[in-house]
């Protein structure tokens, strides 16, 4: 049994409840909780976004998220992280992903939280399609 077996990592079609993630990661030993929200922004490459469509390979996405939480547990044994990614249609300002990290110390909470979002963007099989006023396009990362 790994340390992150019961960790919270989920792909959902519903609005993300950040408090659920905080409750999942915060312990009495923590002095710091860092929460990151990826949100839909209005402009992309100088075009106006009407909304986004997120698609996921959900079983693999959750597996890769769990792998990332394992990486956090190895690198920062005192910390815990959680990841929830939303899919489907999202409007401007809505959160596509929320990451929470609970930590005894503030510096490491930022480092771990940033590590998680960077890894999510590299590894987790989720894609967004930008729907503009005059067309639409799947965004493909590097």
């Amino acid at each position: 049994m790994t340390t992150t077996e019961r960790a919270l990592c989920r792909v959902t079609t519903e609005k993300i409840d950040a408090q659920e993630l905080i409750d999942a990661v915060q312990t009495a030993a923590d002095g710091a909780v860092c929460v990151f929200y990826g949100v839909v922004r209005e402009d992309s490459r100088n075009k106006k976004v009407r909304f986004l469509e997120y698609d996921a390979y959900p079983e693999m996405a959750e597996k890769k998220m769990r792998d990332i939480l394992e990486e956090v547990a190895v690198r920062w044994p005192e910390q815990r992280a959680a990841i929830v990614h939303r899919v489907g249609t999202l409007g401007i300002g809505e959160a596509s992903v929320v990451i929470a990290v609970g930590s005894p110390h503030r510096g490491e909470s930022f480092e771990a939280c940033r590590y998680v979002i960077d890894r999510v963007k590299q590894e987790v099989p989720i894609w967004k399609k930008e729907v503009f006023t005059d067309g639409e396009e799947w965004v493909e990362g590097s």
Partner: protein, 80 residues
């Protein structure tokens, strides 16, 4: 032997389907399945992807086994 394919995002839209079962020869490589898709749908020729077998990233030279789930993962763009 048979492998199960699932399609997502741009590849799904180009192929116009989400899943299929394919009959492939023993010892078939991931890259050979991709070539069949490109032959069917030339628009995929320029498509970048990472293959995943049974939900783990792998290489185009991966040898498939009966019952594998194979997905060609377009460059991911989740997060924000």
């Amino acid at each position: 032997m048979r492998v199960r394919l699932r399609y997502f995002a741009s590849i799904r839209e180009r192929l116009g389907r989400t899943t299929e079962e394919l009959e492939v020869p023993e010892g078939a490589l991931v890259s050979e399945v991709w070539e069949r898709l490109v032959a069917e749908c030339p628009a995929l020729e320029q498509q970048r992807y990472r293959p995943a077998v049974n939900q783990e990233y792998t290489s185009p030279g991966h040898v498939l086994r009966d019952g594998d789930e194979l997905v060609f993962i377009p460059p991911v763009s989740g997060g924000l």
